[in-house]
Every structure is written in C-alpha cells, then in structure tokens.
Point group: D2
Chain length 305, copies 4
C-alpha cells in the first residue's frame, strides 16, 4: 500500500503545475506549488504515507467541519439547525433577501464563509480568545498533536486583508445571527483558518469522522456518532465549493478542501485521508489533490455511491 | 422484517394527514391523501412489503433519474456532462444570466425540471413518440413489469396546464440546448411524468441503482456500473428538492421524490426502496414518506455517511 | 435649423461604423450600417429633416410605448397598473420568484419584453389578428401614414427564431398574466415589432406624446393627456434599456430605442424626434443615434432636468 | 398661494396617521408622527410656507444628492462615473457578483446606501472629520443657514446600530472602491445622515438644483450647471427608492426622500420644494409627503413629462 501510494503520488506530480497558488492573501502567494503529499489511516489500524506528507500548510476552510463539530458539541443539533442551514444552494450574499429585510438563515451553510463565521460565534467561550483556544485544543485532540498552532504570518495577513469576511460578519450581526463583538468573532475565524497542519494530522481528523467520533488507536470517543453523520452529509453536498457535485460523481467521498491546498477525505467506516498540494483549480480546490483522490477512490472502490 | 415494516407504517400513518396533496395539476388534486405503502428489496434476494404497497400513483419526478440513466446509456458520460450540469445550486430560472445572454449550462441540473427537459431531448429516437416508447420500455425492464403504462388523465391534465415547463422548453431551445421540436420534447416529458407505478416497481428500480446496474433476481446487467455512481451521487445532492441537505443528514440515503407522492430510495450495495404517500411537505416531498424513510434508516443503520 | 441638422448628421456620420447591426434575427443582420437620418417636429408647427430620413426600418421596441398607449386607452390606468409594473428594476427573469411560486408583477415593466408581451394581450380584440389590426391602425393614425405596414420578412424571421419570447409568453400564461392563446399573443407582438417605419413617422408619434395626446397639424386629440405623462415617465426611467440612467444624464429626453436602429425622442411641450441608424452599442441602442440626440439636446438645451 | 398650501396641508393631514415612523434606529422611533409641513421657493423670488414647516428632522437619505454634488465638484464628472453608477437597477447586495469575484460598479447607484458610502469616501479631506466638515459647510451654504448641525442623539444611535452599512463599507473596501479607513468613511456617512434640517432649508437646497447651481436671492453660483442635470436625472430614476417609477408617473418631479420623513423636490427652472412628515409608506417614503407633492404637482401642472 505504501508503494501503491508512492506510485500514485509520482503519477500525479505532473498536475502540481496545473493549479495556481491562492493569491488573495499575500502570505499564501509565497508558497511553493511543487508539493504533493498524502496520508491514509484505516479503521484496520494501519497508516500509510507518501510524498511530502510532512510539509505544513494552513488549514483554511478544512477547519470548517471541525468548528461545526465543536459547535454541535457545545450547543446540540437543534440550536445549530436553527441558526445555520444545511442546504447546498447558499452563496453568501445570495442568502440575503434585502427586500424582505430578513436573512433566510437556512441558506447560510456552515461550509461557506458566512455560515462558518456564524458557527465560530456559537463556540462557547467568555471571549474570542477563549473560543479560539477551545477550538485549537479540540483540533489538537482530533489531530493527535498537542503542539499544533497557528501560522502567525498567515493569520496577520488574513486579518489585514479580510474585508469581505468583515462585511459578512457585520451582515450576520445586523440580522442577529452572531452574539457579541464582530471583530472578536472574526479574529477567532482568522486564527482558525491559520492553523498550521500536515497530511497525517488531516488524516487523523478525517479518521475521527469516518469512525463516527473515535480517536485513532485509543478508540476514545471525542464526539457523538450522529454528529459525524451530520458533518459527513454536509461535506458530501458542499465540501468542495462549486465543484461538490462533480466531485461526488468522480470521487464519491465526503471531503473538505481549503485554499491552503489541503483536502481532508472521509470514507465512512473505512478510512481518513489527508492530502496536500497548494496549486488550486478555478473553484479553489487543490488541483493535484483532487486527481490523487479520484484515482485512489477508483482503484480502491471507495465511492459511497 | 415484514412485521417491522408493518409496525413502521402503522406508526407513521398519522403523518399522512400532515401533508398536502399536489394541486398544481387538477388530476393530482383528486388523490386520496390517506395512503401509505412501502416495499424493500435487498441484495440478499429478499423482498418485503407493507401498507398500501399495491396502489398505483404517477411517477412524476422520480422518472428523472431513469431518464438520466437512459440518456447516459444513449450518449455516454461526456456528452451528458457537456449539456447538463451536476451541481446542486441551480434553480431553473436562476440558471439564466440574461445580461450575459447565455445560459450557464453547468447549473441546469438533471433533477430540476429544466435540466430534465434537456435530458429528455437527449434520449435517442426519430421523434418524440419513439423517444418516449424507448423510455417506457427501459422503465418496464427496470421495474420488472412489461405492462407498465401512463395514466392518460394525468398526462392530459399535465399537458393542458404545463405552461411553466413550456417556458423552460423554449428557453432551452433559445440557448441551443435542445434539438428538434420543443412541443415534442415536452410531450415526451409530460408522458414520462405520468407513468403509473407502485411501490414494488419503484423498489425494483432502486435495486438496479443499488446493485450498480443489475436487475433483481436475474442479475442481468442493464446499464454500466459507473452510471449508478453518477446517478446516486446526484440523488444525494439534489434528489429531494430544497430539502436535500436536511434529508442527507437525517436519512443519509440517495433518494428521489415526486409530487405524485412516491420516493425511490437507494442504499448502495444493500437495497432498493419504494415508498408512497401522496401528502406533500412544503418542499414537495412526501410528508409521511420521509418520516418512514428516516425511521427505517435509523433503525437499520442505512446512512451512507 | 435644416442646416444645423444637416451639419449634425455629417458630424456624427463617423459613428455609424462604431456600432454593430443586430444579428439575433437573420433578417436584421442584412441591414446596411451606414445609414443615419433625423426628423424633428416642433409644437411651433415646423418640421425639419436631414440625412437618410426617408429610409425605412423595423420599429422593434419603439412599438412598446405605442402598445402601452393603446392598452391604457382600452383598459384605463387602474387595470394596466394592476397587471404590469412601472419600476425600472425588472429584468424579465429576475421578476420571477420561483420559490414563492408567484410572479412579482410590479417588476414586469412594459418597456422590457416580458411586460410588453403582457401589454400586447391587454389590447382589445376578438383574436390576435384583430388585436394587431387595431394596433396597426392606431400606429398609422399617430404616424400620419395610412399605408404603414409590417416588413413581412422580418416578421417571419422573428417568428421563426423568437424562442426566448415564447418562453416569456408561457411564463406569463403560467402566472395568469395573459388571457387567451400564447401563440396568438406572440404573433401580435412579433408583427408589432416588424412595423416598417421611417424617421418622420417616428417624429410624428413622438410629437403626439410631447403634445400630450394631439396629432401634428390637426391638433386632434387621439389619447388622454395623462397617458402621455404615464408613458413619458416610463420612457425616462426605462426607455433605453440598461443605458437609461446614463442617457437621462447625458441627453435628458424621454426616448425609446429599438434594435432596428430607431430612436423616438419626446421633448414634453416642445418637440417630437425620430432618428435612425442601425449600428447598435452593447446595450442595444443606436450608437450614432444616441450621439446625434446628445449633441442636439445640448445645443438646444432640451434636457428636462 | 400661502392659502392654497395651507388648504393642501389641511386636506392631507389625515394621511399622517397612515404611515409608520422609521424604527430601524431607536432615536427615529421616538418621533411624533402627526407632523406635516411644506415650503416652496420659486425662481420668481417668492417663498411660501404652510403647516409645521419650522420643525426640524434628520436629513437622512436626502443628504445623498448633496454628497454627490460635492463629490462631483471635488473630483469632476469622469471620476465619479468611473467609481459609482447611474442606473436604477442596483439593489445594494444584488450588485455583487461573488462568483465572478468582482463588483459590477455600474450598479452601485449613489442614491442607494452602498453607492452613497462610496461617494462619501470621494469627498476631499485629510481625514473623516475634515470630509464631514466640508460637507456640512457646503450644506449650510446651500440651505442658507450657517448654524445647521447634526442631531447628536440620532448620530450616535445610527452609529451604534449601523451594522448593515458597516457590511457595505467593508465590501466596498474589499473591491477597492473606498480609500482609507472604513470606519472613518462610515462615520462621515452617519454624521451626514444626522444633519438636522427643516422644510425651508430643504426647499433652498432644492432651489439650487432647480436653478442649475445658483443660491436663492443672491444668485451666486455654487456649483456647475451640468451637475444639476446630473443629479436631477438620477433623482428622477432612483430618488424615491423602489417607488421611483410610480412617483415619476404620479408626480413627475425629481425628488429625494429620507427615512426621517423629509422630501426635497426639484422642479427644473421653476421651484425648490421641502416637505416633512415622518410617517413612512412600505417603501420608506413619507406617506403624507408624497400625497402633498402629488396633489401640488397636479394642481400646478409641475410634471416634467
């Protein structure tokens, strides 16, 4: 299997040139595009790695399902459903019916920025800092690495340039969908996106979702099984931005991508997957990463459909 | 299992009053709402039935995945992808960017009316009649009933009142997305929606999708395995109208509903399911039918997530 | 003044090359773009002409205010207001809230195709033919030419290719906004757009609007004064498609353009103007025609603002 | 004429009960709805007043054309056109095409909040304070009252609750349409909306627009004539929110309303009008104020159409 993954990575390395590194924040634009790595952790207890699986990158949107898990644990399913939606249709600004003067909250999906900012405000904590520390701690547990931390440069770069997210935050505030100070909520969100991670840690987090809430090796339960169903379902319908439908057909694995180049894959009951390659396609998903995952899924018959 | 299903139906019969029978075409408004039936066919070769599983109803939108399967078989995956989309976002009319003067075809999903009309025009046949006869024949094979036919009254009612679908047809024509005569394509579509079916036949069709292309009992292959992946993935992201995200979390089974009250469920590699209850929720899905499917999925651990 | 107009035309002739003849229907694409003409009729009783003012062209959307006038005369202001809107915001398909399942009719402005088709169905007549004959007769009276008729080739070309308008017609039908047969209403509309006209006739029609309902020379009243206010107001906010705001600032004259290259201008209480040049800008307005009107307005201080 | 206006006010006083005082900021909700006043200043040098014409209210959106005039004077027409649009179609958030990742700036009209915030940032000044002081000074000149100032309570209330405007500000910042600090620009805008004014002062400002840039009595030119054309044209197409088309037909006068209950009317070459009544219709325009203006326009034949 290690050899199989090594071949897969070698075969797909040619795709690293075809994507484009994210440029919307200056720090991300500096990343070397020629990186590709994978880690797979199975429910049979085995772990496999290939390529630059040790390289670190910022987690970006892959933190969204982790935030959602913690918000579910903190508030319960009913509260989360009443505040953020689950349908695939919602683009952030389409979600707002200005004529009617009210937000159709069911459209603000936790996998798009606006919904994720609302989710950030639902994580318990006496202030933005405590909220983020609890999220970081939870991510460390899932990832099995107590040293996990943010990339300070990316965080500051994101904070300086995040005016669109600021706009979303004030809209949510205007519609009564976030409590407390907008800037504190955004700070939690910017920090969350800047967590510095690697393939193995993503695979471990994916493992917790595939095992319906248990940590790798220790089998310790860290969240309720039904929350894994909740998150895996949303990943399938909206995890890969506007490419989610295409990805469901071609790959058929619940997954979440981030503009840092990471993809976390979840094969329910079978395995967690972490992939990294920073060149992105025009939808914001890792170009080489998707190719790796597609070939892997087809060779191993992993599609849930 | 028969007893289990019987209890499930009895328990959910109270929900038949809570939905509303479709009224947008006069014939559908005449249906008795107090009907509820289910049929389940497993890949272990067993079949189970409960409630009014023998009652007939019109297939309506549940015909969309069947049309898509036949269009895939007739044209191959590439052609279908180039003409109809797979993302969940597309509401029919939102799909049209009148300013830009061109249709964003990737948004015209085959599970919404506009995409389904485009799919109807992709079924091979020298005219509308031959196209429909081939679809009917294919449906008969999947459903295991060579007598299957349309409900003439519903068909005529649909034809008389289908001005919104006519509008969609002319839009598609305007954008070069359907060949030939619009009225013929619509006639094929109206007839397709009027196929008169029952729970067992829906379960058999669902079985073909769960078994990746094989008929129940005979194991005869009737379409390519990868087309089942294609269709099951789309069902998961868009099969239940605007309630698809909610349904994925609560039920977790690829499924398609129709305003006739039918739901076809597909549990990949395990079972096909047919359910019928004509009272609809505000999204157009069978009210009692969804409750039955949710309880069934939870009791039997059927969620694919 | 004749010399002034002659100079104006000569000065603006260079702009005839800068627009593009309409190509959406084959017949329009055949027109020679190097034509430019103007006719001005003042309430002081004088008439002035320059350039190719005698050349004929199809009236296209300039017929929309005429249809609106006749529909107002036939039904009264209340009925028209209840069925078609007056705000500038409505793009045809944006007007439709498919989720809510009802048309927001206030958005279907009579200067966009969808609203104009609704207006066509409000003209009295026992069938489509009588409706069109009454409109043609009314246009002949306003234009002072009893011989006015349609361009048969353009009409047939329009009819063959008008699938977008057909889509709009069926949508209106679906929402109960047109009575009777959709095809008949569309036939009336296609014929109306094909009326073959020249600059002087457009200027005479504009004169009737500037004089609040009286014919040139005879002073005979042909419609109520307040209907001129109604139409002139709508022309100002929506007469020049998406360029209406720009045009209001630069020119400041109620006007209606058509893709045939005609522009009808109305300077309330002062003059009616007819201009023709078939090359269009990217908003569908006559490129050279707008430049002529802008210079004319600025030299003569015609802006109503 | 004084008597005529007095009768008009008495006749329309019954409408003051039919509107609803704005409640979106707490301070505005405290206003007594039973107020109605008017002031008219003619180019013949006469001034007429009736009702509670001396009562003060916050200028709110009526400041938008004043801000636009100053921005035009500070930057010239070309710069303004390149940064803010003039078409009537733009609702704030509809203006944003998130998929394309760029703002269609032509849609951000200076009479809607988003465009007005962009305009505020175009007023010259070394910081937000200087920008506001220059605007206040300019307004004092137009209004003929060197004591004119803001209502501090409304300003603070607006600042505390203005999250939607904050969202708009950050969006503009994100798209590079405002320079400098978002909070400073918003502060200028919130202060501008809080200017405390009365009917006579509004009529004087309207007079400057009707006279194409000259002050009442002194005839001193305070802005270029063509900027009056620019502003009057935009008022006609978008001055009365979503009721602009209806208002153009019924009243036919360039005008701007604010949620404080004020309406400024401009009859080009003839008169400036100030009206105040705080009860609003469902579009945000003064309910009684519109009725007064409609009757006044019809009795005096003031429609520009």
């Amino acid at each position: 299997m290690d050899e199989f993954l090594e071949n897969l990575i070698n075969e797909c390395r040619k795709y690293t040139d075809m994507g484009k590194v994210a440029t919307y924040i200056p720090e991300l634009a500096k990343v070397d595009p020629n990186q590709l790595g994978i880690c797979v952790i199975g429910t049979n207890g085995k772990i496999f790695r290939a390529g630059q699986h040790q390289n670190r990158f910022t987690i970006q949107s892959v933190v969204k399902p982790i935030m959602l898990l913690l918000a579910l644990a903190d508030n319960g399913e009913e509260v989360i459903r009443s505040k953020v939606g689950v349908e695939a249709t919602g683009k952030p600004f389409d979600a707002i019916n200005m004529n009617a003067g009210k937000l159709e909250s069911k459209h603000v999906n936790p996998m798009v920025n606006m919904g994720a900012i609302a989710v950030a405000s639902l994580i318990k904590g006496k202030d933005g800092n405590e909220r983020f520390q609890r999220l970081l701690e939870f991510t460390r547990v899932l990832a099995g690495n107590p040293e996990l931390d943010i990339n300070e440069d990316v965080y500051l770069s994101e904070k300086r340039t995040g005016n669109k997210n600021r706009a979303l935050g004030y809209l949510l505030k205007n519609y009564g969908l976030i409590e407390g100070d907008v800037d504190e909520v955004l700070d939690t969100y910017f920090k969350a996106c800047s967590i510095h991670i690697n393939c193995e840690e993503l695979a471990r987090i994916g493992y917790c979702l595939c095992s319906h809430g248990k940590l790798w090796k220790s089998d310790e339960r860290v969240f309720e099984a039904r929350y894994a169903n909740y998150v895996n379902a949303i990943l399938t319908t909206c995890g890969m931005y506007d490419g989610s439908g295409e990805f469901a057909i071609n790959v058929g694995i619940p997954a979440k991508s981030g503009v840092g180049g990471g993809i976390m894959g979840v094969v329910p009951t079978r395995m967690g997957i972490g992939i990294f390659s920073p060149g992105l396609d025009d939808k914001g998903n890792s170009y080489a990463g998707i190719r790796v995952l597609e070939k892997f899924s087809k060779e191993m018959f992993l599609s849930i459909f």
